[in-house]
Protein backbone atom coordinates (compact mmCIF):
# COMPACT_ATOMS: atom_id res chain seq x y z
CA UNK A 1 0.00 0.00 0.00
CA UNK A 2 1.62 3.24 -1.07
CA UNK A 3 -0.55 4.97 1.52
CA UNK A 4 0.91 3.22 4.48
CA UNK A 5 4.29 4.70 5.29
CA UNK A 6 3.28 8.34 5.36
CA UNK A 7 0.32 7.55 7.59
CA UNK A 8 2.46 5.69 10.07
CA UNK A 9 3.95 9.14 10.45
CA UNK A 10 0.51 10.69 10.79
CA UNK A 11 -0.30 8.12 13.38
CA UNK A 12 2.78 8.84 15.42
CA UNK A 13 2.16 12.57 15.24
CA UNK A 14 -1.44 12.39 16.32
CA UNK A 15 -1.02 9.88 19.12
CA UNK A 16 1.81 12.09 20.37
CA UNK A 17 -0.56 15.05 20.11
CA UNK A 18 -3.15 13.26 22.22
CA UNK A 19 -0.68 12.41 24.94
CA UNK A 20 0.63 15.97 25.03
CA UNK A 21 -2.96 17.09 25.31
CA UNK A 22 -3.65 14.89 28.29
CA UNK A 23 -0.41 15.88 29.97
CA UNK A 24 -0.51 19.62 29.43
CA UNK A 25 -4.23 19.56 30.11
CA UNK A 26 -3.58 17.91 33.45
CA UNK A 27 -1.11 20.69 34.27
CA UNK A 28 -3.63 23.42 33.61
CA UNK A 29 -6.22 21.71 35.75
CA UNK A 30 -3.65 20.94 38.41
CA UNK A 31 -3.20 24.68 38.61
CA UNK A 32 -6.88 25.46 38.79
CA UNK A 33 -7.54 22.97 41.59
CA UNK A 34 -5.56 25.08 44.03
CA UNK A 35 -7.69 28.15 43.53
CA UNK A 36 -10.91 26.29 43.06
CA UNK A 37 -10.67 23.83 45.95
CA UNK A 38 -11.76 25.95 48.90
CA UNK A 39 -15.00 27.41 47.57
CA UNK A 40 -15.81 24.09 45.95
CA UNK A 41 -15.55 22.08 49.13
CA UNK A 42 -18.15 24.39 50.62
CA UNK A 43 -20.96 23.62 48.18
CA UNK A 44 -20.84 20.86 45.57
CA UNK A 45 -22.24 22.32 42.39
CA UNK A 46 -24.03 19.17 41.31
CA UNK A 47 -27.54 19.67 42.79
CA UNK A 48 -27.16 23.42 42.34
CA UNK A 49 -30.33 23.49 40.27
CA UNK A 50 -32.18 22.29 43.33
CA UNK A 51 -30.75 24.62 46.02
CA UNK A 52 -32.50 28.00 46.57
CA UNK A 53 -32.18 29.60 43.16
CA UNK A 54 -29.77 32.50 42.49
CA UNK A 55 -31.07 35.09 39.99
CA UNK A 56 -31.42 33.86 36.41
CA UNK A 57 -28.69 34.76 33.93
CA UNK A 58 -28.86 37.45 31.32
CA UNK A 59 -26.32 39.32 29.25
CA UNK A 60 -26.19 42.25 31.69
CA UNK A 61 -25.59 40.18 34.80
CA UNK A 62 -23.26 37.25 34.38
CA UNK A 63 -21.98 36.60 37.87
CA UNK A 64 -23.57 34.15 40.28
CA UNK A 65 -26.53 33.34 38.12
CA UNK A 66 -28.25 30.05 37.39
CA UNK A 67 -28.72 29.22 33.72
CA UNK A 68 -32.31 29.13 32.52
CA UNK A 69 -33.27 25.45 32.54
CA UNK A 70 -35.58 25.79 29.53
CA UNK A 71 -32.96 27.45 27.36
CA UNK A 72 -30.40 24.92 28.56
CA UNK A 73 -32.74 22.02 27.76
CA UNK A 74 -33.18 23.27 24.21
CA UNK A 75 -29.45 23.84 23.71
CA UNK A 76 -28.54 20.39 25.05
CA UNK A 77 -31.03 19.02 22.53
CA UNK A 78 -29.59 21.16 19.77
CA UNK A 79 -26.13 19.73 20.38
CA UNK A 80 -27.53 16.23 19.83
CA UNK A 81 -29.41 17.35 16.72
CA UNK A 82 -26.43 19.04 15.10
CA UNK A 83 -24.08 16.15 15.87
CA UNK A 84 -26.66 13.87 14.23
CA UNK A 85 -26.35 16.01 11.09
CA UNK A 86 -22.74 14.93 10.61
CA UNK A 87 -22.95 11.38 11.96
CA UNK A 88 -24.81 9.69 10.50
CA UNK A 89 -26.60 12.38 8.44
CA UNK A 90 -23.94 13.85 6.21
CA UNK A 91 -22.03 10.57 6.00
CA UNK A 92 -25.09 8.87 4.53
CA UNK A 93 -26.07 11.77 2.29
CA UNK A 94 -22.63 11.60 0.69
CA UNK A 95 -22.18 7.83 1.06
CA UNK A 96 -25.27 7.08 -0.99
CA UNK A 97 -24.02 9.19 -3.89
CA UNK A 98 -20.62 7.55 -4.33
CA UNK A 99 -19.94 4.19 -5.93
CA UNK A 100 -20.53 1.14 -3.77
CA UNK A 101 -16.79 0.51 -3.62
CA UNK A 102 -16.16 3.84 -1.88
CA UNK A 103 -19.08 4.15 0.52
CA UNK A 104 -17.08 2.96 3.53
CA UNK A 105 -14.34 5.51 3.00
CA UNK A 106 -16.93 8.23 2.55
CA UNK A 107 -18.86 7.57 5.75
CA UNK A 108 -15.61 7.05 7.65
CA UNK A 109 -14.47 10.52 6.62
CA UNK A 110 -17.45 12.05 8.44
CA UNK A 111 -16.81 9.92 11.50
CA UNK A 112 -13.06 10.53 11.67
CA UNK A 113 -13.48 14.27 11.14
CA UNK A 114 -15.97 14.34 14.02
CA UNK A 115 -13.38 12.76 16.30
CA UNK A 116 -10.42 14.80 15.11
CA UNK A 117 -12.17 18.17 15.35
CA UNK A 118 -13.50 17.33 18.82
CA UNK A 119 -9.97 16.78 20.13
CA UNK A 120 -8.62 19.92 18.43
CA UNK A 121 -11.58 21.92 19.78
CA UNK A 122 -10.72 20.79 23.30
CA UNK A 123 -7.08 21.64 22.86
CA UNK A 124 -7.24 25.03 21.16
CA UNK A 125 -9.77 25.84 18.46
CA UNK A 126 -12.66 26.69 20.82
CA UNK A 127 -10.48 29.17 22.62
CA UNK A 128 -9.07 30.59 19.39
CA UNK A 129 -12.57 31.16 18.02
CA UNK A 130 -14.72 32.22 20.97
CA UNK A 131 -12.60 33.96 23.58
CA UNK A 132 -11.72 37.63 23.28
CA UNK A 133 -8.34 38.36 21.76
CA UNK A 134 -7.77 40.45 18.67
CA UNK A 135 -10.40 41.22 16.01
CA UNK A 136 -8.68 38.53 13.93
CA UNK A 137 -8.11 35.66 16.33
CA UNK A 138 -9.16 34.83 19.90
CA UNK A 139 -6.96 34.11 22.90
CA UNK A 140 -5.91 30.91 24.63
CA UNK A 141 -7.68 31.47 27.99
CA UNK A 142 -9.80 28.41 27.29
CA UNK A 143 -7.08 26.22 25.78
CA UNK A 144 -7.75 22.69 27.05
CA UNK A 145 -11.07 24.15 28.21
CA UNK A 146 -9.23 25.34 31.30
CA UNK A 147 -11.06 27.48 33.79
CA UNK A 148 -14.64 26.39 33.10
CA UNK A 149 -14.23 24.22 36.15
CA UNK A 150 -13.44 26.98 38.61
CA UNK A 151 -16.05 29.22 37.02
CA UNK A 152 -18.61 26.55 37.64
CA UNK A 153 -17.34 26.17 41.18
CA UNK A 154 -17.95 29.89 41.63
CA UNK A 155 -21.53 29.26 40.47
CA UNK A 156 -21.05 31.28 37.32
CA UNK A 157 -23.34 30.01 34.62
CA UNK A 158 -21.32 31.44 31.81
CA UNK A 159 -18.88 34.35 31.76
CA UNK A 160 -19.73 34.78 28.14
CA UNK A 161 -22.02 37.38 26.65
CA UNK A 162 -22.59 35.13 23.64
CA UNK A 163 -24.79 32.73 25.58
CA UNK A 164 -25.91 34.37 28.81
CA UNK A 165 -28.63 31.95 29.85
CA UNK A 166 -26.88 28.57 29.49
CA UNK A 167 -23.75 26.99 30.98
CA UNK A 168 -20.62 27.67 28.97
CA UNK A 169 -20.04 23.90 28.66
CA UNK A 170 -23.25 23.63 26.63
CA UNK A 171 -22.19 26.52 24.44
CA UNK A 172 -18.81 24.84 23.90
CA UNK A 173 -20.52 21.64 22.76
CA UNK A 174 -22.98 23.51 20.55
CA UNK A 175 -20.27 25.44 18.74
CA UNK A 176 -18.19 22.26 18.53
CA UNK A 177 -20.86 20.62 16.40
CA UNK A 178 -20.57 23.52 13.93
CA UNK A 179 -16.80 23.20 13.85
CA UNK A 180 -17.30 19.48 13.11
CA UNK A 181 -19.76 19.67 10.26
CA UNK A 182 -17.93 22.39 8.33
CA UNK A 183 -14.88 20.31 7.39
CA UNK A 184 -17.13 17.27 6.99
CA UNK A 185 -19.01 19.13 4.27
CA UNK A 186 -15.78 19.60 2.33
CA UNK A 187 -15.55 15.83 1.97
CA UNK A 188 -18.18 16.08 -0.77
CA UNK A 189 -15.62 17.69 -3.06
CA UNK A 190 -12.70 15.30 -2.66
CA UNK A 191 -14.72 12.08 -2.38
CA UNK A 192 -13.62 8.84 -4.07
CA UNK A 193 -9.99 9.75 -4.69
CA UNK A 194 -8.22 11.32 -1.70
CA UNK A 195 -5.85 9.42 0.56
CA UNK A 196 -7.34 8.85 3.98
CA UNK A 197 -4.15 10.03 5.64
CA UNK A 198 -3.98 13.19 3.54
CA UNK A 199 -7.64 13.79 4.34
CA UNK A 200 -6.91 13.73 8.08
CA UNK A 201 -4.03 16.18 7.75
CA UNK A 202 -6.02 18.53 5.52
CA UNK A 203 -9.04 18.58 7.81
CA UNK A 204 -6.98 19.03 10.96
CA UNK A 205 -4.91 21.91 9.62
CA UNK A 206 -7.96 23.51 8.01
CA UNK A 207 -9.88 23.41 11.29
CA UNK A 208 -7.06 25.29 13.01
CA UNK A 209 -5.92 27.70 10.30
CA UNK A 210 -9.17 28.48 8.50
CA UNK A 211 -12.24 27.62 10.57
CA UNK A 212 -11.09 29.00 13.93
CA UNK A 213 -10.11 32.46 12.66
CA UNK A 214 -13.14 32.88 10.42
CA UNK A 215 -15.51 31.82 13.22
CA UNK A 216 -13.79 34.42 15.40
CA UNK A 217 -14.18 37.18 12.80
CA UNK A 218 -17.93 36.68 12.48
CA UNK A 219 -18.98 35.34 15.90
CA UNK A 220 -16.11 36.09 18.30
CA UNK A 221 -16.88 38.77 20.90
CA UNK A 222 -14.38 41.12 19.26
CA UNK A 223 -14.48 39.75 15.71
CA UNK A 224 -14.08 42.41 13.02
CA UNK A 225 -17.11 41.12 11.06
CA UNK A 226 -19.38 40.47 14.05
CA UNK A 227 -22.57 42.52 13.74
CA UNK A 228 -22.99 42.28 17.53
CA UNK A 229 -19.56 43.87 18.07
CA UNK A 230 -19.90 47.65 18.15
CA UNK A 231 -16.30 48.07 16.94
CA UNK A 232 -16.75 45.73 13.99
CA UNK A 233 -15.28 46.91 10.68
CA UNK A 234 -18.11 45.36 8.67
CA UNK A 235 -21.32 44.32 10.40
CA UNK A 236 -22.12 41.00 8.70
CA UNK A 237 -25.37 39.20 9.51
CA UNK A 238 -24.80 35.47 9.78
CA UNK A 239 -27.35 33.91 12.09
CA UNK A 240 -26.31 30.27 11.91
CA UNK A 241 -23.33 30.09 9.60
CA UNK A 242 -24.03 30.82 5.94
CA UNK A 243 -20.63 32.44 5.64
CA UNK A 244 -18.68 30.75 8.43
CA UNK A 245 -19.93 27.26 7.62
CA UNK A 246 -21.23 26.98 4.07
CA UNK A 247 -19.36 29.50 1.95
CA UNK A 248 -16.30 28.49 3.92
CA UNK A 249 -16.74 24.76 3.25
CA UNK A 250 -17.80 25.32 -0.35
CA UNK A 251 -14.71 27.30 -1.30
CA UNK A 252 -12.31 24.93 0.48
CA UNK A 253 -14.04 22.11 -1.37
CA UNK A 254 -13.56 23.82 -4.70
CA UNK A 255 -9.85 24.21 -3.97
CA UNK A 256 -9.59 20.53 -3.07
CA UNK A 257 -11.41 19.53 -6.28
CA UNK A 258 -9.04 21.68 -8.33
CA UNK A 259 -5.92 20.32 -6.63
CA UNK A 260 -7.05 16.67 -6.91
CA UNK A 261 -8.34 16.72 -10.46
CA UNK A 262 -11.08 14.57 -11.92
CA UNK A 263 -12.00 11.07 -10.79
CA UNK A 264 -10.94 8.27 -13.13
CA UNK A 265 -14.29 6.51 -13.18
CA UNK A 266 -17.60 7.88 -12.05
CA UNK A 267 -21.17 6.65 -12.03
CA UNK A 268 -24.63 7.26 -10.66
CA UNK A 269 -25.45 7.25 -6.94
CA UNK A 270 -25.12 3.64 -5.81
CA UNK A 271 -27.88 3.85 -3.21
CA UNK A 272 -30.24 6.79 -3.15
CA UNK A 273 -31.96 5.35 -0.08
CA UNK A 274 -28.85 6.19 1.96
CA UNK A 275 -28.94 9.67 0.44
CA UNK A 276 -32.60 9.96 1.44
CA UNK A 277 -31.82 8.97 5.03
CA UNK A 278 -28.94 11.42 5.14
CA UNK A 279 -30.90 14.33 3.70
CA UNK A 280 -33.77 13.63 6.11
CA UNK A 281 -31.51 13.59 9.15
CA UNK A 282 -29.81 16.75 7.93
CA UNK A 283 -33.20 18.42 7.71
CA UNK A 284 -34.29 17.26 11.16
CA UNK A 285 -30.94 18.12 12.72
CA UNK A 286 -30.89 21.52 11.06
CA UNK A 287 -33.58 22.64 13.50
CA UNK A 288 -30.86 22.45 16.13
CA UNK A 289 -28.52 24.28 13.79
CA UNK A 290 -30.83 27.24 13.03
CA UNK A 291 -33.35 27.37 15.87
CA UNK A 292 -30.52 26.43 18.22
CA UNK A 293 -28.57 29.46 17.07
CA UNK A 294 -31.07 31.59 18.99
CA UNK A 295 -29.26 30.11 22.03
CA UNK A 296 -32.59 30.21 23.85
CA UNK A 297 -36.01 28.58 23.66
CA UNK A 298 -38.22 31.52 22.79
CA UNK A 299 -39.73 33.62 20.05
CA UNK A 300 -36.64 33.84 17.89
CA UNK A 301 -36.03 30.08 17.98
CA UNK A 302 -39.64 29.53 16.94
CA UNK A 303 -39.40 31.88 13.99
CA UNK A 304 -36.03 30.45 12.95
CA UNK A 305 -37.55 26.96 12.90
CA UNK A 306 -40.54 28.14 10.88
CA UNK A 307 -38.55 29.86 8.15
CA UNK A 308 -36.11 26.94 8.01
CA UNK A 309 -38.95 24.54 7.30
CA UNK A 310 -40.49 26.80 4.66
CA UNK A 311 -37.29 27.55 2.75
CA UNK A 312 -36.21 23.92 2.76
CA UNK A 313 -39.48 22.57 1.39
CA UNK A 314 -39.65 25.31 -1.24
CA UNK A 315 -36.10 24.74 -2.46
CA UNK A 316 -36.62 20.97 -2.64
CA UNK A 317 -39.71 21.39 -4.80
CA UNK A 318 -37.99 24.02 -6.94
CA UNK A 319 -35.03 21.72 -7.66
CA UNK A 320 -37.32 18.76 -8.32
CA UNK A 321 -39.54 20.63 -10.76
CA UNK A 322 -36.65 22.22 -12.61
CA UNK A 323 -34.97 18.83 -12.99
CA UNK A 324 -38.28 17.29 -14.04
CA UNK A 325 -38.82 19.98 -16.66
CA UNK A 326 -35.28 19.93 -18.04
CA UNK A 327 -34.46 16.21 -17.83
CA UNK A 328 -37.86 14.57 -17.81
CA UNK A 329 -37.60 12.82 -14.45
CA UNK A 330 -37.72 13.91 -10.80
CA UNK A 331 -35.00 12.08 -8.88
CA UNK A 332 -34.53 11.15 -5.24
CA UNK A 333 -31.02 12.58 -5.30
CA UNK A 334 -32.45 15.74 -6.83
CA UNK A 335 -35.16 16.50 -4.30
CA UNK A 336 -32.76 15.68 -1.47
CA UNK A 337 -30.13 18.01 -2.92
CA UNK A 338 -32.75 20.72 -3.25
CA UNK A 339 -33.72 20.38 0.39
CA UNK A 340 -30.09 20.72 1.45
CA UNK A 341 -29.77 23.76 -0.82
CA UNK A 342 -32.71 25.37 0.96
CA UNK A 343 -31.30 24.54 4.38
CA UNK A 344 -27.97 26.06 3.40
CA UNK A 345 -29.47 29.27 2.02
CA UNK A 346 -31.79 29.93 4.97
CA UNK A 347 -29.02 29.33 7.51
CA UNK A 348 -27.61 32.88 7.62
CA UNK A 349 -31.11 34.35 7.33
CA UNK A 350 -33.02 32.20 9.79
CA UNK A 351 -33.01 34.68 12.68
CA UNK A 352 -33.60 37.73 10.52
CA UNK A 353 -36.29 37.01 7.90
CA UNK A 354 -39.97 35.98 7.89
CA UNK A 355 -42.11 33.46 6.00
CA UNK A 356 -42.28 35.52 2.80
CA UNK A 357 -38.51 35.94 2.78
CA UNK A 358 -38.17 32.22 3.40
CA UNK A 359 -40.32 31.36 0.38
CA UNK A 360 -38.27 33.66 -1.82
CA UNK A 361 -34.95 32.39 -0.51
CA UNK A 362 -36.16 28.82 -1.03
CA UNK A 363 -37.06 29.35 -4.66
CA UNK A 364 -33.78 31.08 -5.41
CA UNK A 365 -31.71 28.47 -3.56
CA UNK A 366 -33.34 25.55 -5.35
CA UNK A 367 -32.76 27.02 -8.78
CA UNK A 368 -29.32 28.52 -8.13
CA UNK A 369 -27.88 25.37 -6.57
CA UNK A 370 -29.35 23.21 -9.32
CA UNK A 371 -27.41 25.39 -11.72
CA UNK A 372 -24.35 25.25 -9.48
CA UNK A 373 -24.41 21.46 -9.55
CA UNK A 374 -24.98 21.26 -13.29
CA UNK A 375 -24.36 24.22 -15.59
CA UNK A 376 -21.65 25.93 -13.56
CA UNK A 377 -19.74 22.71 -12.96
CA UNK A 378 -19.81 21.80 -16.63
CA UNK A 379 -18.78 25.30 -17.62
CA UNK A 380 -15.51 25.06 -15.71
CA UNK A 381 -15.11 21.30 -15.74
CA UNK A 382 -13.75 20.80 -12.19
CA UNK A 383 -14.82 17.56 -10.52
CA UNK A 384 -16.68 18.72 -7.42
CA UNK A 385 -17.70 15.12 -6.84
CA UNK A 386 -20.78 15.57 -4.65
CA UNK A 387 -21.33 19.28 -5.31
CA UNK A 388 -19.89 20.71 -2.14
CA UNK A 389 -19.22 24.03 -3.88
CA UNK A 390 -22.28 23.83 -6.12
CA UNK A 391 -24.62 23.53 -3.15
CA UNK A 392 -22.80 24.96 -0.13
CA UNK A 393 -20.70 27.58 -1.86
CA UNK A 394 -23.44 28.88 -4.15
CA UNK A 395 -26.27 28.33 -1.67
CA UNK A 396 -24.35 29.84 1.22
CA UNK A 397 -23.42 32.94 -0.76
CA UNK A 398 -26.94 33.37 -2.12
CA UNK A 399 -28.36 33.01 1.38
CA UNK A 400 -25.87 35.43 2.90
CA UNK A 401 -26.68 38.10 0.36
CA UNK A 402 -30.46 37.54 0.43
CA UNK A 403 -30.27 37.91 4.21
CA UNK A 404 -29.29 41.49 3.53
CA UNK A 405 -32.30 41.78 1.25
CA UNK A 406 -35.06 40.20 3.34
CA UNK A 407 -33.90 40.99 6.88
CA UNK A 408 -36.67 42.56 8.96
CA UNK A 409 -35.78 44.73 11.91
CA UNK A 410 -38.45 43.31 14.19
CA UNK A 411 -36.84 39.89 14.13
CA UNK A 412 -33.11 40.26 14.29
CA UNK A 413 -32.85 43.95 15.01
CA UNK A 414 -31.43 44.80 11.57
CA UNK A 415 -33.38 46.00 8.54
CA UNK A 416 -32.61 44.72 5.05
CA UNK A 417 -33.04 46.08 1.55
CA UNK A 418 -36.76 45.20 1.65
CA UNK A 419 -37.07 47.69 4.50
CA UNK A 420 -34.93 50.20 2.66
CA UNK A 421 -31.51 49.45 4.16
CA UNK A 422 -29.46 48.81 1.01
CA UNK A 423 -26.19 49.12 2.93
CA UNK A 424 -26.73 45.76 4.61
CA UNK A 425 -26.59 43.99 1.25
CA UNK A 426 -23.14 45.47 0.71
CA UNK A 427 -22.02 44.36 4.17
CA UNK A 428 -23.12 40.86 3.32
CA UNK A 429 -21.21 40.94 0.04
CA UNK A 430 -18.06 42.19 1.78
CA UNK A 431 -18.38 39.43 4.37
CA UNK A 432 -18.63 36.73 1.75
CA UNK A 433 -15.79 38.18 -0.30
CA UNK A 434 -13.38 38.42 2.62
CA UNK A 435 -14.07 34.84 3.65
CA UNK A 436 -13.74 33.55 0.09
CA UNK A 437 -10.35 35.15 -0.42
CA UNK A 438 -8.80 34.09 2.89
CA UNK A 439 -10.26 30.59 2.70
CA UNK A 440 -9.17 29.99 -0.90
CA UNK A 441 -5.59 31.09 -0.32
CA UNK A 442 -4.98 29.26 2.96
CA UNK A 443 -6.72 26.08 1.81
CA UNK A 444 -4.60 25.98 -1.34
CA UNK A 445 -1.41 26.41 0.66
CA UNK A 446 -2.37 23.61 3.06
CA UNK A 447 -3.29 21.28 0.20
CA UNK A 448 -0.10 22.06 -1.69
CA UNK A 449 2.09 21.31 1.32
CA UNK A 450 0.32 18.00 2.04
CA UNK A 451 0.60 17.05 -1.61
CA UNK A 452 4.35 17.65 -1.56
CA UNK A 453 4.89 15.78 1.72
CA UNK A 454 2.65 12.70 1.49
CA UNK A 455 0.61 13.15 -1.69
CA UNK A 456 -3.11 13.95 -1.82
CA UNK A 457 -4.38 11.35 -4.21
CA UNK A 458 -4.53 7.56 -4.27
CA UNK A 459 -3.03 5.60 -7.18
CA UNK A 460 -5.16 4.81 -10.21
CA UNK A 461 -5.29 1.14 -9.28
CA UNK A 462 -6.58 1.91 -5.80
CA UNK A 463 -9.16 4.26 -7.28
CA UNK A 464 -10.30 1.52 -9.67
CA UNK A 465 -10.33 -1.18 -7.02
CA UNK A 466 -12.20 1.12 -4.65
CA UNK A 467 -11.03 2.89 -1.51
CA UNK A 468 -12.96 0.57 0.82
CA UNK A 469 -10.93 -2.53 0.05
CA UNK A 470 -7.68 -0.76 -0.68
CA UNK A 471 -7.52 1.67 2.23
CA UNK A 472 -9.76 0.04 4.84
CA UNK A 473 -9.86 -3.65 3.96
CA UNK A 474 -13.64 -3.66 4.12
CA UNK A 475 -16.45 -4.08 1.61
CA UNK A 476 -20.25 -3.76 1.69
CA UNK A 477 -21.79 -7.11 0.70
Amino acid sequence: MTTRKPTRGGLAALIFGLLIAVFVGAQFFGATYVHAQAPAAAEPAAPAAASEAPPACDAKMLINCTPNSGDTAWMLTSVALVLMMTIPGLGLFYGGMVRKKNVGDTVMASFAITCLVTVLWTICTYSMAFTAGTPFIGGLDRAFLQGIMSDIAKGIGNPNSLAPTIPETVYICFQMTFAIITPALIAGAYAERMKFSAMLWFMGLWAILVYAPIAHWVWGPDGFLNSANSDAVVKVLDFAGGTVVHVNAGVAGLMAALMLGKRKDTGPAHNMVLTFIGASLLWVGWFGFNAGSAVSAGLQAGMAMTVTQIATATAALAWMFVEWALRGKPTVVGICSGAVAGLVAITPASGFVGPAGALAIGVVAGIACYWGATGLKHMFGYDDALDCFGVHGIGGAAGAILTGVFAIEQYGGTAGLIEGNAAQVLNQVYGVAIVVVYDAIVSLIILKIIDLVIGLRVSVDIEREGLDIALHGEAVQ
Binding site: G267, P268, K329, T331, V333, S337, T374, K377
Partner: protein, 112 residues
Protein backbone atom coordinates in the same frame (compact mmCIF):
# COMPACT_ATOMS: atom_id res chain seq x y z
CA UNK B 1 -28.00 -34.38 -23.77
CA UNK B 2 -27.90 -30.67 -24.43
CA UNK B 3 -27.45 -27.66 -22.24
CA UNK B 4 -29.83 -24.89 -23.22
CA UNK B 5 -28.74 -21.46 -22.09
CA UNK B 6 -31.23 -18.63 -22.55
CA UNK B 7 -30.76 -14.93 -21.87
CA UNK B 8 -34.15 -13.37 -21.10
CA UNK B 9 -35.89 -10.29 -19.77
CA UNK B 10 -36.11 -10.63 -15.98
CA UNK B 11 -39.87 -10.34 -15.57
CA UNK B 12 -40.45 -13.27 -17.95
CA UNK B 13 -39.00 -15.87 -15.59
CA UNK B 14 -42.26 -17.11 -14.08
CA UNK B 15 -43.96 -17.57 -17.43
CA UNK B 16 -40.96 -19.49 -18.74
CA UNK B 17 -40.87 -21.75 -15.72
CA UNK B 18 -44.52 -22.61 -16.20
CA UNK B 19 -43.97 -23.27 -19.90
CA UNK B 20 -41.08 -25.61 -19.10
CA UNK B 21 -43.12 -27.47 -16.51
CA UNK B 22 -45.80 -28.02 -19.14
CA UNK B 23 -43.23 -29.71 -21.41
CA UNK B 24 -42.01 -31.84 -18.54
CA UNK B 25 -38.82 -30.00 -17.51
CA UNK B 26 -38.70 -29.75 -13.73
CA UNK B 27 -35.33 -28.25 -13.06
CA UNK B 28 -33.39 -25.20 -14.06
CA UNK B 29 -30.70 -22.87 -12.82
CA UNK B 30 -31.01 -19.10 -13.00
CA UNK B 31 -28.28 -16.47 -12.82
CA UNK B 32 -28.57 -12.69 -12.77
CA UNK B 33 -26.73 -11.17 -15.71
CA UNK B 34 -26.38 -7.93 -17.55
CA UNK B 35 -26.71 -7.80 -21.28
CA UNK B 36 -25.36 -5.61 -24.01
CA UNK B 37 -26.82 -5.68 -27.49
CA UNK B 38 -29.03 -3.73 -29.83
CA UNK B 39 -31.47 -2.68 -27.12
CA UNK B 40 -30.65 0.90 -26.16
CA UNK B 41 -30.20 1.49 -22.44
CA UNK B 42 -32.03 4.16 -20.45
CA UNK B 43 -30.30 7.22 -19.10
CA UNK B 44 -29.66 7.65 -15.41
CA UNK B 45 -29.48 11.22 -14.23
CA UNK B 46 -27.20 12.04 -11.36
CA UNK B 47 -26.71 15.59 -10.25
CA UNK B 48 -24.57 17.25 -12.84
CA UNK B 49 -24.06 14.17 -14.93
CA UNK B 50 -25.97 11.80 -17.18
CA UNK B 51 -24.97 8.18 -17.63
CA UNK B 52 -26.34 5.95 -20.35
CA UNK B 53 -26.72 2.57 -18.79
CA UNK B 54 -26.18 0.24 -21.74
CA UNK B 55 -25.74 -2.90 -19.69
CA UNK B 56 -29.30 -3.96 -19.08
CA UNK B 57 -30.52 -6.38 -16.43
CA UNK B 58 -31.19 -9.86 -17.85
CA UNK B 59 -31.57 -13.34 -16.44
CA UNK B 60 -29.57 -16.29 -17.70
CA UNK B 61 -31.38 -19.64 -17.56
CA UNK B 62 -29.60 -22.96 -17.91
CA UNK B 63 -31.54 -26.12 -18.51
CA UNK B 64 -30.07 -29.53 -19.23
CA UNK B 65 -32.35 -31.70 -21.34
CA UNK B 66 -32.29 -34.89 -23.30
CA UNK B 67 -31.30 -34.24 -26.93
CA UNK B 68 -34.72 -35.33 -28.07
CA UNK B 69 -36.40 -32.59 -26.06
CA UNK B 70 -34.39 -29.68 -27.42
CA UNK B 71 -36.86 -28.56 -30.09
CA UNK B 72 -39.79 -28.68 -27.73
CA UNK B 73 -38.01 -26.87 -24.92
CA UNK B 74 -36.62 -24.18 -27.19
CA UNK B 75 -40.08 -23.58 -28.58
CA UNK B 76 -41.53 -23.39 -25.07
CA UNK B 77 -38.95 -20.79 -24.04
CA UNK B 78 -39.49 -18.70 -27.15
CA UNK B 79 -43.25 -18.86 -26.64
CA UNK B 80 -43.01 -17.59 -23.10
CA UNK B 81 -40.11 -15.13 -23.41
CA UNK B 82 -41.16 -13.30 -26.55
CA UNK B 83 -42.52 -9.77 -26.27
CA UNK B 84 -41.58 -8.86 -29.82
CA UNK B 85 -39.62 -5.90 -28.52
CA UNK B 86 -35.90 -5.50 -28.98
CA UNK B 87 -33.99 -7.05 -26.09
CA UNK B 88 -36.00 -10.23 -25.76
CA UNK B 89 -32.77 -12.18 -25.67
CA UNK B 90 -31.18 -15.30 -27.09
CA UNK B 91 -31.18 -19.03 -26.74
CA UNK B 92 -27.92 -20.98 -27.07
CA UNK B 93 -27.72 -24.77 -27.29
CA UNK B 94 -24.57 -26.72 -26.39
CA UNK B 95 -23.61 -30.37 -26.35
CA UNK B 96 -23.53 -31.92 -22.89
CA UNK B 97 -21.18 -34.88 -22.44
CA UNK B 98 -22.24 -35.96 -19.08
CA UNK B 99 -24.50 -35.15 -16.12
CA UNK B 100 -24.55 -36.35 -12.52
CA UNK B 101 -27.01 -35.90 -9.68
CA UNK B 102 -24.82 -35.29 -6.67
CA UNK B 103 -27.29 -36.66 -4.14
CA UNK B 104 -27.62 -40.10 -5.75
CA UNK B 105 -24.76 -40.35 -8.19
CA UNK B 106 -27.30 -41.10 -10.94
CA UNK B 107 -25.85 -40.07 -14.27
CA UNK B 108 -26.93 -38.56 -17.57
CA UNK B 109 -30.64 -38.43 -18.44
CA UNK B 110 -31.63 -40.02 -15.17
CA UNK B 111 -29.82 -37.22 -13.41
CA UNK B 112 -31.98 -34.46 -14.82
Amino acid sequence: MKLIMAVIKPFKLDEIRDALTRVGVHGLTVTEAKGYGRQKGHTEIYRGNEYTVNLLPKLKIEVAVASAQVEQVTAAIIGAAKTGEIGDGKIFVMELDHAVRIRTGETDETAL
